[in-house]
């Protein structure tokens, strides 16, 4: 059994009286697409926020390639090569696409212009941003200098996904990346997820779209009431079984429940 690329044990996060994470476990293995499903408010976003440094859990441990890690800020996770598409997208609306793609890791000119005068390399950022959008087949965006708030909801989502795909070097986490996308754009994102996996990076995909989950995922993490209720393989379980596990109508270990593969490899 190989070490998970990213592992969490007993994560707890409380917001006042609301417990968003209630001892949640998580395992992501190298090269897999792991879908995370669960009802609204189950704590999926809270889970991946803990895994991407966006929130510091009250309790529990996170292990990166088997080594215990503490992310104090999103920057820590980013530096570890974990890229995240947050449900809120985390874009600056009044800035253009290129600036948003490079937000927080702008490129500087080589030599003293960048080193001493801190001059940004805007042409390079624009060029790379355009190349990235072209490579991803994102054609709906007309030009890289467009202000993000003038984009449609789907286009904005495409920008956020492009950013994660561009910089993810260890794993990519996506929180409902296709929620606002049309059929064609959704397909683009799904293709993109496959391509990220083919690059050898594991992907975490939060989605409410069951057919999409069953098409893409290697394993499905079912989240319920702030913790992991079960992990199943799409081949072993039916959509209705997964939905039953999500809502609590079915419990793992019960007769008729699919086999749990939470620790599997």
């Amino acid at each position: 059994m190989s070490t998970p690329a990213l592992q969490a044990r007993g994560l707890v996060k409380r917001y006042g009286r609301v417990t968003a994470l209630d001892g949640a476990d998580f395992d992501l293995y190298a090269g897999e697409v792991l879908a995370v499903v669960g009802d609204n408010g189950a704590g999926k976003s809270s889970l991946i926020k803990a895994l991407s440094g966006a929130l510091v859990p009250d309790d529990g441990t996170i292990l990166l390639d088997g080594a215990e890690t503490r992310f104090h800020s999103p920057l820590d996770a980013r530096r570890a090569g974990i890229e995240t598409v947050h449900q809120t997208l985390a874009l600056a609306p009044a800035m253009d696409i290129a600036a948003n793609l490079f937000l927080g890791r702008e490129l500087r000119r080589p030599g003293p212009l960048g080193g001493v005068l801190r001059l940004l390399d805007k042409p390079a950022m624009r060029r790379q941003a355009q190349e990235q959008l072209d490579a991803l087949g994102i054609e709906t965006v007309q030009h890289i200098g467009q202000i993000v708030e003038t984009l449609s909801g789907g286009q904005r989502q495409a920008v956020a996904v492009a950013r994660a795909a561009m910089f993810g070097s260890r794993m990519v986490i996506m929180d409902e990346p296709t929620a606002a996308l049309g059929v064609k754009e959704s397909r683009l994102v799904l293709d993109l997820i496959r391509r990220i996996r083919d690059r050898g990076l594991p992907v975490v995909l939060i989605s409410h779209d069951m057919p999409q989950v069953f098409e893409l995922a290697d394993r499905i993490h079912i989240h319920r009431l702030g913790r992991r209720a079960a992990v199943v393989r799409p081949g072993d379980a039916s959509m209705s079984q997964v939905v039953s596990l999500m809502t609590g109508a079915l419990r793992i270990g019960e007769d008729g429940a699919p086999p749990d593969v939470s620790g599997a490899e």
Binding site: L103, L120, G154
Partner: protein, 330 residues
């Protein structure tokens, strides 16, 4: 959400987009119109001497507005800037009058102004207090400190170093250019560079846009916000030095409306009070518009109260325009 960019009114949207990219365009147009109107309607406005005077008169408020621009871009506001500046003038003048060297007085004044900016910034950043309240408190405290320190007097500017920025020479033998004007150009250029050509500037805009998004992209939101207030404090010290080039005495009751005047310049210059949008160029234009209006209306023989009316109307128009341009682009 509908894709309005592709469907409805491409021309209208392109105009809106141009303004979004450069919110200083509108104010710049207004400035040009004002200059043309006053040049045609009065015989005294369009003279080299008068134009130079207009610029000199706008220097202090423009410099205050430069610091204010930085803070407003982070969706903050600084009500204490003029009070900090006035305290700076008191320090400069009194220390020199009491025998310290002008350079030492300048250093002390700069350090105190920067520290006061830093106090506001620290309270806003790490105690999460609203900038309006923090700087309102600072305004009261610093104003009182200035009066206490003045001992009820105004202190004369006796040293040439303190009055330096009011000195200057003549360009082409006839255009009066003071050192203060040169300094202001350099400062505006530096802040423009920092805001538009460096990561720091991008981070200032990003956190003004959406602090949570900025945090999630790994930007040091707290550090950046604090640096903005600190730099603004330094800029207010420069404003204090500018002021001593224009007034014969450091007076604790001077520039009473400096804070509001600086906000006026920032807003007329097209910088959004909601943060994340605006430019230094806009603030230059905003400060010039106010000065041009004052000068032009005075020369047209119009009562100064009407000048206030005109300025007030402009502020509201600028904010309305900001809202309109943004709504169109959606």
């Amino acid at each position: 959400m509908a894709n309005s960019t592709a469907t409805a009114g491409p021309l209208r949207n392109r105009t809106a987009e141009a303004f979004l990219h450069n919110p200083a365009l509108g104010p710049l147009g207004a400035l040009v119109v004002a200059i043309v109107v006053f040049s045609v309607t009065t015989s005294t406005f369009l003279t080299v001497d008068n134009l130079s005077l207009v610029v000199q008169q706008s220097l202090v408020v423009a410099t205050l507005a430069l610091g204010q621009t930085l803070i407003v871009l982070t969706s903050g506001i600084d009500l204490a800037n003029a009070a900090i500046m006035v305290l700076g003038t008191m320090l400069f003048a009194r220390l020199v009058t009491e025998g310290s060297s002008p350079v030492l007085a300048l250093v002390v004044g700069f350090v105190v102004c920067a520290a006061l900016g830093g106090v506001s910034g620290g309270l806003v950043t790490w105690l999460n207090l609203p900038p309006f309240i923090v700087t309102l408190g600072m305004l009261t405290v610093v104003l009182a400190a200035g009066r206490l320190y003045s001992q009820g007097n105004s202190w004369p500017v006796t040293d040439p170093v303190l009055g330096l920025l009011g000195e200057g020479g003549y360009l082409f033998g006839q255009v009066r250019v003071t050192h203060g004007m040169t300094l202001a150009v350099v400062m505006f250029a530096l802040v423009w560079y920092a805001l538009t050509q460096t990561s720091w500037g991008k981070h200032v805009y990003a956190l003004g846009n959406d602090p949570e998004a900025a945090r999630l992209t790994g930007i040091h939101v707290g550090r950046t916000r604090f640096s903005v207030y600190l730099i603004a404090g330094v800029i207010y010290a420069f404003a204090a030095w500018q002021a001593l080039g224009r007034i014969p005495n450091a007076d604790p009751n001077a520039f009473q409306t400096g804070n509001l005047d600086s906000i006026t310049a920032v807003v007329i210059g097209g910088t959004s009070l909601f943060g994340g949008r605006g430019s230094v160029l806009g603030t230059v234009v905003g400060a010039l518009i106010v000065a041009v209006l004052r000068s032009g209306l005075t020369q047209a023989g119009i009562d100064s109260l009407y000048q206030d009316v005109a300025t007030g109307v402009l502020v509201i128009a600028a904010v309305a325009f900001d809202q309109l341009a943004r709504r169109r682009s959606r």
